[in-house]
């Protein structure tokens, strides 16, 4: 799960895309952020709406994932509706310990995503656990693994969440 070429520069840049999407890719990305069909052949149905063959839809999707233009494709689960919890968390990571800390934090399966941000609190990540108690447990394990304080920012109220970004 850790990045093989975990040099400081690569770790700082993070999961960068390897190419820019072309116009057809963008149409496909936008279509795949809408209602994905629950039919027997959903890729054929998406293709029919865009004028693309089923095989091309699948091949492009595979290539967009391989090149990291897309980070994932599938159901987005709302773990809070299944008895679990999400929590935003942050660590102030000393620059000298950046690469090892990225590796240590990302190694936890409960870390759903992780961003570098420009602030004294420079690492911001989201924990997703099957039970609400799992958040505090996971934060403690990350503190043990990194020797750094994990600050938790649980959501007290959600005013708005948009799940789509137009390509």
């Amino acid at each position: 799960m850790s990045e093989p070429e975990n040099t400081t520069a690569a770790a700082r840049r993070g999961v960068a895309a390897r190419r820019a999407p072309d116009d057809t890719d963008r149409r496909l990305i936008n279509a795949l952020q809408g209602e994905f069909p629950l039919s027997e052949t959903p890729f054929a149905d998406i293709g029919a709406a865009l004028g693309l063959a089923e095989a091309e839809v699948i091949a492009r999707l595979q290539s967009l994932l391989d090149d990291r233009v897309l980070t994932r494709f599938g159901p987005m689960f709302q773990i809070e509706r299944m008895g679990g919890a999400f929590c935003l968390a942050a660590i102030a990571v000393p620059e000298a310990r950046w690469a090892e800390t990225v590796e240590a934090v990302n190694a936890f399966p409960a870390v759903a995503h992780n961003y570098r941000r420009e602030h004294a609190l420079n690492m911001w990540f989201v924990l997703a656990t099957e039970t609400p108690a799992g958040i505090a447990d996971c934060a403690r394990h990350i503190e043990e693994a990194t020797g750094l304080v994990v600050h938790l920012f649980p959501k007290e109220r959600e005013y708005f969440v948009e799940m789509r970004l137009e390509a």
Partner: protein, 193 residues
């Protein structure tokens, strides 16, 4: 669910005889569905198979009919356990190179009114109330702004500031913007590990 012809007593005393049996059966069915749904989550949280019939592929690994997988996904979409099925773009790759997490120290008495208003702005993609971590972190409102450039993102943050100042004078005590300098991981949730 009948197990033969009920006697007269069962018909006249449903609370004593019929109901517990029916409720035990319903509980068992519910538990079986919960377990099936969990197996569907485990087998699809890493992504849907990129094959012509992805639901059939999931069904085969679970040993259930394809129609059942499609029906359970539909139920999970309807009750909100699945937000949506589809693609998650790397926002850098599709042109949203500036990802600013704007954070605001808002008067507790006005936080929900301000949060609702800021969350309704079309360029705010996520908006939450979160706890302060005093003294270093006085901010209780988080509003994520995506834009094609840092300048454009900062302009939008200024728009939020102007809106709060005009509609809720004095409510905002301080603010900051934390720009993203790279995605370190973005796998989505992984349970059952």
């Amino acid at each position: 669910m009948t197990h033969g012809i009920p006697d007269k007593g069962a018909l006249t005393r449903p609370a004593e005889r019929g109901a517990p049996v029916a409720s035990a059966a319903a509980d068992a069915e519910r538990a079986a569905l919960t377990e099936l749904d969990r197996r569907i989550v485990l087998s699809t949280q890493g992504g849907l198979p990129l094959t012509a019939r992805p639901y059939a592929a999931v069904a085969e690994t679970l040993g259930v009919p394809e129609a059942v997988v499609r029906a359970r996904l539909a139920v999970m979409l309807a009750d909100g356990r699945i937000r949506r099925i589809g693609a998650v773009p790397n926002h850098y790759a599709i042109g949203y190179t500036a990802n600013g997490m704007s954070v605001w120290d808002i008067d507790d008495a006005l936080i929900d009114a301000v949060g609702e208003r800021v969350g309704a702005l079309d360029f705010v993609t996520h908006c939450y109330r979160r706890p302060r971590h005093l003294p270093d972190w006085p901010y209780n409102l988080f509003a994520m702004v995506h834009a094609a450039s840092r300048e454009a993102a900062l302009e939008r943050v200024e728009e939020i500031a102007a809106l709060i100042a005009s509609e809720f004078p004095g409510a905002c005590r301080s603010r900051d913007v934390l720009f993203s300098a790279g995605i370190l991981k973005k796998t989505g949730l992984r349970i059952g590990g």
